[in-house]
Protein backbone atom coordinates (compact mmCIF):
# COMPACT_ATOMS: atom_id res chain seq x y z
CA UNK A 1 0.00 0.00 0.00
CA UNK A 2 1.25 3.45 -0.89
CA UNK A 3 0.01 6.31 1.27
CA UNK A 4 -0.11 9.71 -0.30
CA UNK A 5 -0.81 13.07 1.31
CA UNK A 6 -0.65 15.66 -1.42
CA UNK A 7 2.72 15.06 -2.97
CA UNK A 8 4.06 13.36 0.15
CA UNK A 9 4.49 9.64 0.07
CA UNK A 10 5.41 7.23 2.81
CA UNK A 11 7.39 4.10 2.16
CA UNK A 12 8.50 1.38 4.52
CA UNK A 13 10.05 -1.89 3.57
CA UNK A 14 9.29 -4.91 5.68
CA UNK A 15 12.18 -6.89 7.03
CA UNK A 16 12.42 -10.00 9.13
CA UNK A 17 10.29 -13.10 9.24
CA UNK A 18 6.69 -12.92 8.10
CA UNK A 19 4.12 -15.18 9.82
CA UNK A 20 3.32 -18.08 7.55
CA UNK A 21 -0.38 -17.22 7.76
CA UNK A 22 0.25 -13.84 6.12
CA UNK A 23 2.45 -14.99 3.30
CA UNK A 24 -0.36 -15.82 0.88
CA UNK A 25 -2.14 -12.54 1.64
CA UNK A 26 1.08 -10.68 1.05
CA UNK A 27 1.47 -12.21 -2.36
CA UNK A 28 -2.10 -11.31 -3.30
CA UNK A 29 -1.52 -7.72 -2.30
CA UNK A 30 1.69 -7.56 -4.24
CA UNK A 31 1.85 -4.66 -6.65
CA UNK A 32 4.52 -3.06 -8.66
CA UNK A 33 6.08 -0.07 -6.94
CA UNK A 34 8.96 1.82 -8.47
CA UNK A 35 10.92 4.42 -6.61
CA UNK A 36 10.17 6.91 -9.37
CA UNK A 37 6.44 6.64 -8.76
CA UNK A 38 6.57 7.23 -5.02
CA UNK A 39 9.05 10.07 -4.92
CA UNK A 40 8.30 12.80 -2.44
CA UNK A 41 9.00 16.50 -2.67
CA UNK A 42 12.73 16.01 -2.21
CA UNK A 43 12.93 13.41 -4.94
CA UNK A 44 12.92 10.47 -2.56
CA UNK A 45 10.36 8.73 -0.35
CA UNK A 46 9.55 10.84 2.71
CA UNK A 47 8.42 9.65 6.12
CA UNK A 48 5.54 11.77 7.36
CA UNK A 49 5.65 12.26 11.16
CA UNK A 50 2.48 11.08 12.86
CA UNK A 51 1.22 9.27 9.79
CA UNK A 52 0.60 5.67 10.76
CA UNK A 53 -0.05 4.46 7.24
CA UNK A 54 2.86 2.83 5.57
CA UNK A 55 3.76 0.73 2.61
CA UNK A 56 4.24 -2.95 3.21
CA UNK A 57 6.45 -4.09 0.41
CA UNK A 58 6.24 -7.71 -0.55
CA UNK A 59 9.37 -9.53 -1.52
CA UNK A 60 7.54 -10.53 -4.67
CA UNK A 61 6.90 -7.00 -5.82
CA UNK A 62 8.86 -5.71 -8.75
CA UNK A 63 10.72 -3.04 -6.84
CA UNK A 64 13.71 -1.42 -8.45
CA UNK A 65 16.39 -2.39 -5.96
CA UNK A 66 19.74 -0.65 -5.81
CA UNK A 67 22.89 -2.73 -5.86
CA UNK A 68 26.65 -2.86 -5.82
CA UNK A 69 28.42 -0.32 -8.04
CA UNK A 70 31.91 -1.04 -6.76
CA UNK A 71 33.71 -3.49 -4.48
CA UNK A 72 37.22 -4.10 -3.23
CA UNK A 73 39.02 -6.35 -0.78
CA UNK A 74 42.31 -6.46 1.06
CA UNK A 75 44.22 -9.27 2.73
CA UNK A 76 47.54 -8.61 4.54
CA UNK A 77 50.61 -10.41 3.15
CA UNK A 78 51.79 -12.14 6.35
CA UNK A 79 50.70 -15.74 6.87
CA UNK A 80 51.08 -18.39 9.56
CA UNK A 81 50.41 -22.05 8.88
CA UNK A 82 48.07 -24.04 11.10
CA UNK A 83 50.85 -26.57 11.70
CA UNK A 84 53.12 -23.83 13.11
CA UNK A 85 50.48 -22.84 15.69
CA UNK A 86 49.76 -26.51 16.47
CA UNK A 87 53.49 -27.20 16.96
CA UNK A 88 53.73 -24.34 19.47
CA UNK A 89 51.02 -25.81 21.70
CA UNK A 90 51.83 -29.50 21.31
CA UNK A 91 48.79 -30.28 19.16
CA UNK A 92 48.63 -32.62 16.20
CA UNK A 93 48.65 -30.49 13.01
CA UNK A 94 46.88 -33.20 11.01
CA UNK A 95 44.02 -33.31 13.52
CA UNK A 96 43.64 -29.52 13.39
CA UNK A 97 43.73 -29.39 9.60
CA UNK A 98 41.28 -32.26 9.32
CA UNK A 99 38.96 -30.91 12.02
CA UNK A 100 38.89 -27.22 11.10
CA UNK A 101 39.93 -27.46 7.41
CA UNK A 102 42.36 -24.58 7.88
CA UNK A 103 45.70 -24.55 6.06
CA UNK A 104 46.96 -21.07 6.95
CA UNK A 105 45.70 -17.64 7.96
CA UNK A 106 46.56 -14.01 7.28
CA UNK A 107 48.27 -11.95 9.98
CA UNK A 108 48.29 -8.14 10.12
CA UNK A 109 51.63 -6.33 10.30
CA UNK A 110 52.38 -3.93 13.16
CA UNK A 111 51.22 -1.14 10.83
CA UNK A 112 47.95 -2.75 9.71
CA UNK A 113 44.60 -2.46 11.44
CA UNK A 114 40.89 -2.18 10.61
CA UNK A 115 41.43 1.37 9.34
CA UNK A 116 44.25 0.55 6.92
CA UNK A 117 42.44 -2.55 5.64
CA UNK A 118 39.27 -0.49 5.13
CA UNK A 119 41.19 2.16 3.16
CA UNK A 120 42.82 -0.44 0.91
CA UNK A 121 39.50 -2.20 0.27
CA UNK A 122 37.70 1.13 -0.17
CA UNK A 123 40.21 2.28 -2.80
CA UNK A 124 39.54 -0.92 -4.74
CA UNK A 125 35.80 -0.28 -4.51
CA UNK A 126 36.18 3.30 -5.78
CA UNK A 127 38.41 2.12 -8.64
CA UNK A 128 35.80 -0.42 -9.76
CA UNK A 129 32.91 2.01 -9.32
CA UNK A 130 34.62 4.83 -11.21
CA UNK A 131 32.55 7.43 -9.34
CA UNK A 132 33.42 10.78 -7.84
CA UNK A 133 34.24 10.03 -4.15
CA UNK A 134 32.44 13.24 -3.20
CA UNK A 135 29.14 11.64 -4.23
CA UNK A 136 29.40 8.99 -1.50
CA UNK A 137 26.95 10.23 1.12
CA UNK A 138 27.34 7.56 3.78
CA UNK A 139 30.19 5.43 5.10
CA UNK A 140 29.72 2.58 7.57
CA UNK A 141 32.47 0.32 8.88
CA UNK A 142 31.68 -2.92 10.68
CA UNK A 143 34.42 -4.44 12.83
CA UNK A 144 35.11 -5.90 16.24
CA UNK A 145 38.64 -4.52 16.22
CA UNK A 146 38.18 -0.80 15.69
CA UNK A 147 41.57 0.69 16.71
CA UNK A 148 39.99 3.33 18.95
CA UNK A 149 37.50 2.67 21.74
CA UNK A 150 36.29 6.26 21.33
CA UNK A 151 36.89 7.85 17.90
CA UNK A 152 35.43 6.43 14.74
CA UNK A 153 37.45 4.41 12.26
CA UNK A 154 35.26 6.00 9.60
CA UNK A 155 36.66 9.50 10.03
CA UNK A 156 40.19 8.38 9.17
CA UNK A 157 38.94 6.21 6.31
CA UNK A 158 36.83 8.97 4.74
CA UNK A 159 39.78 11.40 4.71
CA UNK A 160 42.05 8.81 3.13
CA UNK A 161 39.46 7.93 0.48
CA UNK A 162 38.70 11.57 -0.30
CA UNK A 163 35.06 11.29 0.84
CA UNK A 164 33.16 13.95 2.74
CA UNK A 165 32.92 16.16 4.66
CA UNK A 166 29.22 16.09 3.64
CA UNK A 167 28.79 12.46 4.63
CA UNK A 168 27.09 10.37 7.30
CA UNK A 169 29.56 8.09 9.09
CA UNK A 170 29.24 5.40 11.75
CA UNK A 171 31.19 2.45 13.08
CA UNK A 172 29.21 -0.72 13.61
CA UNK A 173 29.76 -3.69 15.91
CA UNK A 174 28.00 -7.05 15.85
CA UNK A 175 30.77 -9.61 16.26
CA UNK A 176 31.43 -11.22 12.87
CA UNK A 177 28.40 -9.83 11.07
CA UNK A 178 29.22 -6.15 11.55
CA UNK A 179 30.36 -6.06 7.92
CA UNK A 180 27.04 -7.14 6.41
CA UNK A 181 25.34 -4.89 8.95
CA UNK A 182 27.27 -1.94 7.48
CA UNK A 183 26.34 -3.15 3.99
CA UNK A 184 22.66 -3.45 4.95
CA UNK A 185 22.46 0.11 6.24
CA UNK A 186 24.44 1.49 3.30
CA UNK A 187 22.03 -0.28 0.94
CA UNK A 188 19.05 1.09 2.87
CA UNK A 189 20.40 4.65 2.68
CA UNK A 190 20.55 4.37 -1.11
CA UNK A 191 17.24 2.52 -1.28
CA UNK A 192 15.53 5.26 0.70
CA UNK A 193 16.91 7.93 -1.60
CA UNK A 194 18.78 9.72 1.16
CA UNK A 195 22.12 9.46 -0.61
CA UNK A 196 23.29 8.77 -4.15
CA UNK A 197 26.02 6.35 -3.10
CA UNK A 198 26.85 4.69 0.23
CA UNK A 199 29.81 2.56 1.25
CA UNK A 200 29.64 -0.38 3.66
CA UNK A 201 32.85 -2.04 4.84
CA UNK A 202 33.56 -5.18 6.89
CA UNK A 203 37.14 -5.43 8.18
CA UNK A 204 38.93 -6.92 11.16
CA UNK A 205 42.24 -7.78 12.70
CA UNK A 206 40.67 -10.56 14.70
CA UNK A 207 41.67 -11.54 18.21
CA UNK A 208 42.06 -15.10 19.42
CA UNK A 209 43.61 -16.12 22.74
CA UNK A 210 46.84 -18.13 22.66
CA UNK A 211 46.23 -21.90 22.82
CA UNK A 212 42.55 -21.42 22.03
CA UNK A 213 40.83 -23.00 19.03
CA UNK A 214 40.23 -19.45 17.77
CA UNK A 215 43.95 -18.93 17.35
CA UNK A 216 43.94 -21.21 14.32
CA UNK A 217 41.34 -19.10 12.55
CA UNK A 218 41.39 -15.45 13.79
CA UNK A 219 42.91 -13.53 10.88
CA UNK A 220 42.91 -10.14 9.15
CA UNK A 221 41.24 -8.76 6.03
CA UNK A 222 38.15 -7.05 4.76
CA UNK A 223 36.02 -5.90 1.87
CA UNK A 224 34.26 -2.68 0.89
CA UNK A 225 31.06 -2.26 -1.12
CA UNK A 226 29.65 0.88 -2.71
CA UNK A 227 25.91 0.87 -3.28
CA UNK A 228 24.09 2.95 -5.85
CA UNK A 229 21.28 2.89 -8.40
CA UNK A 230 23.02 3.16 -11.75
CA UNK A 231 25.71 1.16 -13.52
CA UNK A 232 25.28 -1.75 -11.13
CA UNK A 233 27.80 -4.60 -11.00
CA UNK A 234 25.37 -6.72 -8.98
CA UNK A 235 21.69 -6.02 -8.52
CA UNK A 236 20.36 -6.65 -5.01
CA UNK A 237 17.17 -8.69 -5.15
CA UNK A 238 16.40 -9.61 -1.55
CA UNK A 239 17.63 -9.03 1.99
CA UNK A 240 16.69 -10.84 5.18
CA UNK A 241 17.91 -10.84 8.79
CA UNK A 242 17.48 -13.29 11.65
CA UNK A 243 18.59 -12.35 15.19
CA UNK A 244 18.24 -13.67 18.75
CA UNK A 245 20.03 -13.28 22.08
CA UNK A 246 22.44 -16.22 22.06
CA UNK A 247 25.59 -15.88 24.22
CA UNK A 248 27.94 -18.04 22.16
CA UNK A 249 30.96 -15.70 21.88
CA UNK A 250 31.71 -12.37 23.52
CA UNK A 251 34.37 -9.97 24.73
CA UNK A 252 33.71 -7.81 27.75
CA UNK A 253 34.81 -4.16 27.83
CA UNK A 254 38.55 -3.89 28.47
CA UNK A 255 39.27 -7.56 27.83
CA UNK A 256 41.94 -8.31 25.23
CA UNK A 257 40.70 -11.69 24.01
CA UNK A 258 37.16 -12.91 23.32
CA UNK A 259 35.61 -15.86 25.14
CA UNK A 260 33.32 -18.46 23.66
CA UNK A 261 31.04 -21.29 24.61
CA UNK A 262 32.97 -24.07 22.87
CA UNK A 263 30.52 -26.48 21.27
CA UNK A 264 27.68 -24.07 22.10
CA UNK A 265 28.97 -21.90 19.24
CA UNK A 266 27.85 -24.62 16.83
CA UNK A 267 24.25 -25.85 16.70
CA UNK A 268 22.38 -23.20 18.73
CA UNK A 269 24.47 -20.34 17.41
CA UNK A 270 26.13 -20.65 13.98
CA UNK A 271 23.99 -23.37 12.45
CA UNK A 272 20.66 -22.14 13.84
CA UNK A 273 21.11 -18.55 12.68
CA UNK A 274 22.85 -19.18 9.37
CA UNK A 275 20.34 -21.84 8.35
CA UNK A 276 17.32 -19.85 9.58
CA UNK A 277 18.41 -16.73 7.70
CA UNK A 278 19.24 -18.65 4.54
CA UNK A 279 15.98 -20.62 4.66
CA UNK A 280 14.12 -17.39 5.38
CA UNK A 281 15.45 -15.62 2.31
CA UNK A 282 14.81 -18.69 0.16
CA UNK A 283 11.19 -18.79 1.37
CA UNK A 284 10.72 -15.06 0.81
CA UNK A 285 12.29 -15.04 -2.62
CA UNK A 286 10.83 -18.30 -3.84
CA UNK A 287 14.30 -19.48 -4.88
CA UNK A 288 15.65 -22.99 -4.43
CA UNK A 289 19.26 -23.88 -3.54
CA UNK A 290 19.96 -25.06 -7.09
CA UNK A 291 19.05 -21.62 -8.51
CA UNK A 292 22.34 -20.12 -7.29
CA UNK A 293 25.66 -20.36 -9.04
CA UNK A 294 27.58 -19.10 -5.99
CA UNK A 295 26.93 -19.27 -2.25
CA UNK A 296 29.02 -17.93 0.61
CA UNK A 297 28.25 -18.50 4.28
CA UNK A 298 30.22 -16.95 7.15
CA UNK A 299 33.45 -18.89 7.69
CA UNK A 300 34.44 -19.22 11.36
CA UNK A 301 36.44 -22.26 10.24
CA UNK A 302 36.50 -24.39 7.14
CA UNK A 303 34.06 -27.00 8.36
CA UNK A 304 31.01 -25.05 9.54
CA UNK A 305 30.03 -23.33 6.25
CA UNK A 306 30.44 -26.52 4.23
CA UNK A 307 28.38 -28.50 6.75
CA UNK A 308 25.62 -25.88 6.94
CA UNK A 309 25.54 -25.55 3.16
CA UNK A 310 25.32 -29.29 2.66
CA UNK A 311 22.42 -29.56 5.10
CA UNK A 312 20.51 -26.93 3.13
CA UNK A 313 21.13 -28.57 -0.22
CA UNK A 314 24.00 -26.50 -1.59
CA UNK A 315 26.80 -28.29 -3.41
CA UNK A 316 30.53 -27.92 -2.91
CA UNK A 317 30.77 -26.45 -6.42
CA UNK A 318 28.41 -23.63 -5.44
CA UNK A 319 30.42 -22.90 -2.29
CA UNK A 320 34.07 -23.41 -3.24
CA UNK A 321 34.70 -19.99 -4.87
CA UNK A 322 33.68 -17.97 -1.81
CA UNK A 323 35.19 -20.49 0.63
CA UNK A 324 38.46 -18.60 1.17
CA UNK A 325 38.83 -19.50 4.85
CA UNK A 326 41.30 -22.34 4.32
CA UNK A 327 43.92 -19.89 3.00
CA UNK A 328 43.13 -16.69 4.90
CA UNK A 329 41.37 -17.76 8.12
CA UNK A 330 38.36 -16.06 9.64
CA UNK A 331 38.64 -12.29 9.24
CA UNK A 332 35.54 -11.90 11.44
CA UNK A 333 33.53 -8.94 10.04
CA UNK A 334 35.51 -9.26 6.82
CA UNK A 335 34.88 -12.99 6.38
CA UNK A 336 31.73 -13.38 4.29
CA UNK A 337 32.20 -9.97 2.58
CA UNK A 338 35.66 -11.11 1.39
CA UNK A 339 34.15 -14.41 0.22
CA UNK A 340 31.56 -12.39 -1.72
CA UNK A 341 34.35 -10.28 -3.29
CA UNK A 342 36.08 -13.51 -4.40
CA UNK A 343 32.82 -14.53 -6.08
CA UNK A 344 32.29 -11.15 -7.78
CA UNK A 345 35.86 -11.41 -9.11
CA UNK A 346 34.83 -14.35 -11.31
CA UNK A 347 31.03 -14.19 -11.64
CA UNK A 348 29.40 -13.93 -15.07
CA UNK A 349 26.41 -11.75 -15.99
CA UNK A 350 23.16 -13.25 -14.76
CA UNK A 351 24.75 -15.39 -12.05
CA UNK A 352 22.61 -15.55 -8.92
CA UNK A 353 24.64 -15.16 -5.69
CA UNK A 354 23.62 -15.83 -2.08
CA UNK A 355 25.54 -14.58 0.96
CA UNK A 356 24.70 -15.26 4.61
CA UNK A 357 26.82 -13.77 7.38
CA UNK A 358 26.87 -14.74 11.04
CA UNK A 359 27.67 -12.62 14.06
CA UNK A 360 27.88 -14.10 17.52
CA UNK A 361 25.45 -12.83 20.03
CA UNK A 362 23.79 -13.80 17.57
CA UNK A 363 22.39 -13.02 14.14
CA UNK A 364 22.68 -13.51 10.40
CA UNK A 365 22.07 -11.30 7.38
CA UNK A 366 21.26 -12.86 4.01
CA UNK A 367 21.44 -11.13 0.63
CA UNK A 368 20.50 -12.38 -2.81
CA UNK A 369 22.00 -10.56 -5.77
CA UNK A 370 22.41 -11.00 -9.49
CA UNK A 371 25.57 -10.15 -11.44
CA UNK A 372 25.04 -7.67 -14.28
CA UNK A 373 26.49 -7.27 -17.77
CA UNK A 374 28.82 -4.55 -16.45
CA UNK A 375 30.60 -6.76 -13.89
CA UNK A 376 33.17 -8.49 -16.16
CA UNK A 377 34.71 -5.23 -17.41
CA UNK A 378 35.12 -3.92 -13.84
CA UNK A 379 36.58 -7.09 -12.27
CA UNK A 380 40.15 -6.28 -13.32
CA UNK A 381 40.19 -2.66 -12.13
CA UNK A 382 41.41 -3.58 -8.62
CA UNK A 383 43.31 -6.51 -7.09
CA UNK A 384 41.26 -9.72 -6.90
CA UNK A 385 40.93 -11.77 -3.73
CA UNK A 386 42.59 -14.73 -5.44
CA UNK A 387 45.60 -12.59 -6.41
CA UNK A 388 46.00 -11.54 -2.78
CA UNK A 389 45.79 -15.16 -1.64
CA UNK A 390 48.25 -16.39 -4.26
CA UNK A 391 50.77 -13.52 -4.54
CA UNK A 392 54.07 -13.62 -2.59
CA UNK A 393 53.40 -14.02 1.09
CA UNK A 394 55.66 -14.02 4.13
CA UNK A 395 55.33 -17.07 6.38
CA UNK A 396 55.86 -16.33 10.07
CA UNK A 397 57.21 -18.40 12.93
CA UNK A 398 55.01 -18.49 16.02
CA UNK A 399 57.45 -16.07 17.69
CA UNK A 400 57.16 -13.55 14.85
CA UNK A 401 53.38 -14.00 14.89
CA UNK A 402 53.24 -13.36 18.66
CA UNK A 403 55.27 -10.18 18.17
CA UNK A 404 53.09 -8.85 15.34
CA UNK A 405 49.89 -9.62 17.26
CA UNK A 406 51.42 -7.90 20.33
CA UNK A 407 50.94 -10.98 22.47
CA UNK A 408 54.33 -10.43 24.16
CA UNK A 409 54.49 -8.22 27.26
CA UNK A 410 57.10 -5.48 26.81
CA UNK A 411 58.39 -2.74 29.09
CA UNK A 412 57.16 0.78 28.35
Amino acid sequence: MVARTGNRTLFQATHGPLPLSQRGEKRQNARSVSFGSISGTLGYPVRVPGDTTFVKRSWHQEVEMPGIVGYGAFIPRNRIKSEEIARQWGKDPATIQRGLLLKEKSVPGLDEDTITISVAAGRGALARAGIDPQKVGALYIGSESHPYAVKPSGTVVLEALGLGPEIHVADFEFACKAGTEAMSVALAMVESGRVEYAMGIGADTSQGAPNDALEFSASAGGAAYIFGREKLLAEFLHTYSYTSDTPDFWRREGEFYPRHGGRFTGEPAYFHHVMSATQGILDRSGHKPEDFRYVVLHMPNGKFPLAAGKRMGFTQKQMETGWVVNLMGNSYSGSSPTGLAAILDVADPGDLILITSFGSGAGSDSFIMKATELLPERQGLAPTVRSMLDNPRKYLTYGEYAKLREKIILND
Binding site: R77, L110, D111, I115, T116, A120, R123, A160
Partner: protein, 131 residues
Protein backbone atom coordinates in the same frame (compact mmCIF):
# COMPACT_ATOMS: atom_id res chain seq x y z
CA UNK B 1 53.78 14.53 16.74
CA UNK B 2 51.31 16.97 18.29
CA UNK B 3 47.72 16.31 17.18
CA UNK B 4 47.13 19.79 15.61
CA UNK B 5 50.17 19.42 13.34
CA UNK B 6 49.15 15.88 12.41
CA UNK B 7 45.69 17.19 11.56
CA UNK B 8 47.11 19.90 9.29
CA UNK B 9 49.15 17.33 7.38
CA UNK B 10 46.20 15.01 6.63
CA UNK B 11 45.78 16.07 2.95
CA UNK B 12 49.41 15.23 2.19
CA UNK B 13 49.74 12.18 4.42
CA UNK B 14 46.35 10.56 3.74
CA UNK B 15 45.66 11.52 0.12
CA UNK B 16 49.15 12.28 -1.25
CA UNK B 17 48.06 15.79 -2.20
CA UNK B 18 50.93 17.83 -3.61
CA UNK B 19 51.44 21.26 -5.17
CA UNK B 20 52.35 21.88 -8.83
CA UNK B 21 53.90 25.20 -9.86
CA UNK B 22 51.84 26.88 -12.58
CA UNK B 23 54.99 28.55 -13.85
CA UNK B 24 57.61 25.82 -14.17
CA UNK B 25 55.55 22.69 -13.49
CA UNK B 26 57.66 21.47 -10.56
CA UNK B 27 55.70 19.23 -8.17
CA UNK B 28 56.37 19.75 -4.46
CA UNK B 29 55.37 17.25 -1.82
CA UNK B 30 54.08 18.28 0.61
CA UNK B 31 52.60 21.29 -1.16
CA UNK B 32 54.43 24.62 -0.79
CA UNK B 33 53.24 28.18 -1.17
CA UNK B 34 56.37 29.21 -3.04
CA UNK B 35 57.98 27.05 -5.72
CA UNK B 36 61.52 26.08 -4.64
CA UNK B 37 62.62 26.02 -8.31
CA UNK B 38 61.30 29.30 -9.78
CA UNK B 39 59.83 31.03 -6.70
CA UNK B 40 56.48 31.22 -8.42
CA UNK B 41 53.53 31.62 -6.07
CA UNK B 42 50.77 30.20 -8.25
CA UNK B 43 50.40 26.59 -7.17
CA UNK B 44 47.89 24.02 -8.37
CA UNK B 45 46.79 21.09 -6.21
CA UNK B 46 47.64 17.68 -7.68
CA UNK B 47 47.34 14.15 -6.34
CA UNK B 48 50.35 11.86 -6.57
CA UNK B 49 49.93 8.45 -8.16
CA UNK B 50 50.14 5.73 -5.49
CA UNK B 51 53.30 4.15 -6.85
CA UNK B 52 56.91 5.14 -7.42
CA UNK B 53 60.54 4.08 -7.78
CA UNK B 54 63.15 3.84 -5.05
CA UNK B 55 65.87 6.47 -5.64
CA UNK B 56 68.02 5.56 -2.67
CA UNK B 57 67.56 3.50 0.48
CA UNK B 58 69.04 2.40 3.78
CA UNK B 59 68.25 -0.14 6.49
CA UNK B 60 67.63 1.11 10.03
CA UNK B 61 69.03 -1.20 12.72
CA UNK B 62 69.04 1.29 15.62
CA UNK B 63 65.67 3.00 15.45
CA UNK B 64 63.93 5.71 17.49
CA UNK B 65 61.95 4.34 20.46
CA UNK B 66 58.63 4.37 18.61
CA UNK B 67 60.00 2.00 15.96
CA UNK B 68 61.96 -0.39 18.21
CA UNK B 69 59.74 -3.37 17.39
CA UNK B 70 59.98 -2.80 13.66
CA UNK B 71 63.79 -2.88 13.27
CA UNK B 72 65.47 -3.73 11.04
CA UNK B 73 63.39 -1.81 8.49
CA UNK B 74 64.06 -0.09 5.18
CA UNK B 75 63.78 3.65 4.62
CA UNK B 76 63.81 4.91 1.06
CA UNK B 77 63.53 8.07 -0.98
CA UNK B 78 60.77 7.29 -3.48
CA UNK B 79 60.02 9.26 -6.65
CA UNK B 80 56.54 9.20 -8.12
CA UNK B 81 55.65 9.59 -11.80
CA UNK B 82 54.90 13.27 -11.13
CA UNK B 83 58.50 13.84 -10.07
CA UNK B 84 57.78 14.32 -6.37
CA UNK B 85 60.29 12.73 -3.98
CA UNK B 86 59.76 11.85 -0.34
CA UNK B 87 61.16 9.55 2.30
CA UNK B 88 59.10 6.58 3.43
CA UNK B 89 59.39 3.14 4.98
CA UNK B 90 59.26 0.19 2.57
CA UNK B 91 57.59 -2.78 4.27
CA UNK B 92 56.20 -6.28 3.60
CA UNK B 93 59.55 -7.46 2.24
CA UNK B 94 63.11 -8.26 3.30
CA UNK B 95 64.64 -4.79 3.98
CA UNK B 96 67.89 -5.82 2.27
CA UNK B 97 65.99 -6.17 -1.02
CA UNK B 98 64.92 -2.51 -1.03
CA UNK B 99 67.39 -1.04 -3.52
CA UNK B 100 67.47 1.84 -6.04
CA UNK B 101 65.25 1.11 -9.02
CA UNK B 102 62.77 -1.01 -7.05
CA UNK B 103 59.14 -0.32 -7.98
CA UNK B 104 56.88 0.25 -4.98
CA UNK B 105 53.15 0.74 -4.44
CA UNK B 106 52.16 3.25 -1.77
CA UNK B 107 49.75 1.75 0.77
CA UNK B 108 47.93 3.45 3.62
CA UNK B 109 49.48 2.25 6.89
CA UNK B 110 49.81 3.10 10.56
CA UNK B 111 53.01 5.15 10.85
CA UNK B 112 53.29 5.42 14.63
CA UNK B 113 51.31 5.49 17.84
CA UNK B 114 51.50 8.56 20.04
CA UNK B 115 52.54 6.56 23.10
CA UNK B 116 50.28 3.98 24.73
CA UNK B 117 47.15 6.15 24.88
CA UNK B 118 47.71 8.90 22.30
CA UNK B 119 46.37 9.21 18.77
CA UNK B 120 47.27 6.84 15.96
CA UNK B 121 49.16 8.50 13.10
CA UNK B 122 48.57 7.19 9.59
CA UNK B 123 50.22 7.82 6.24
CA UNK B 124 51.70 5.96 3.30
CA UNK B 125 54.44 3.35 3.12
CA UNK B 126 55.99 1.60 0.17
CA UNK B 127 55.33 -2.08 -0.48
CA UNK B 128 56.78 -4.21 -3.31
CA UNK B 129 55.10 -3.19 -6.57
CA UNK B 130 52.24 -5.31 -7.83
CA UNK B 131 53.20 -4.93 -11.52
Amino acid sequence: MPSPRYHREIPARFRLEAGKCAGCGRVSYPARKVCPACRGQEMEQVKLSPRGTVVTSTVIHVPPDDFLNEAPYAMAVVETAEGARFMTQVVDCDPSTVLPGMEVDLEFRLIRKEGKSGILCYGHKGVPGSV
